[in-house]
Subunit: 115 residues, 2 copies
């Protein structure tokens, strides 16, 4: 009987070989090699992080900030490569979420059976 | 080659058979069967949730609230069974954290290699 750590390493290897990860890796490399796309994405992410930090500090975003973020998002969405990368990231994020739910099932059952 | 979902189910099964989970399950059942311990723990958790919700809403806790939470915490810590359960829960939480870090290693490497 293997232990949880061994199994987690096996899962990590399988995830690394998965089509979802391979696609993400490929798109990541393509964006990195395209300086225009790279700069556009870095700019978008910097704005995202800035606004998230403001929100986490309990500050409200101004209409201008929301509008700016939306227009930059629309811009990056039109860039084919970035759009593909973002879709691949969302897909990976869903996959990781699914895996976490599956792994935590025993705990879910233990705590969900009605105290 | 198995897929990530199959491997996650395997990990879930191994986790369910682990000594860490078995201990948690055992202590959970013992607390459930001890109505005094059960009530004490429910009371503590209710206070915890109430204070967490206040904090999440950006409200500051009063000195009295902090003091009340601390004294209830000290009280439950003295209850042997609850103290054991909380330690087992913390141990499980660390284990799950370790597993998540192992699984996410390929992504960590992809995003951490310097953009
Ligand atoms: Ca239960
Ligand atoms: Ca990178």
């Amino acid at each position: 009987m293997s232990n949880p750590y061994e199994k987690a390493h096996e899962l990590s290897s399988v995830l690394k070989e998965s089509s979802e990860f391979k696609l993400l890796e490929e798109l990541h490399a393509k964006v990195k090699a395209d300086s225009q796309a790279k700069q556009m994405l870095d700019n978008f992410r910097a704005i995202q992080i800035e606004l998230q930090q403001k929100q986490m500090q309990g500050m409200e975003l101004t209409d201008e900030e929301i509008q700016k973020a939306q227009s930059v998002f629309e811009l990056v969405q039109q860039q084919e490569l970035i759009s593909q990368l973002m879709q691949a990231e969302q897909r990976m994020s869903q996959l990781i979420g699914d895996l976490n739910r599956i792994i935590a099932e025993p705990l879910e059952k233990l705590y969900g059976e009605g105290e």
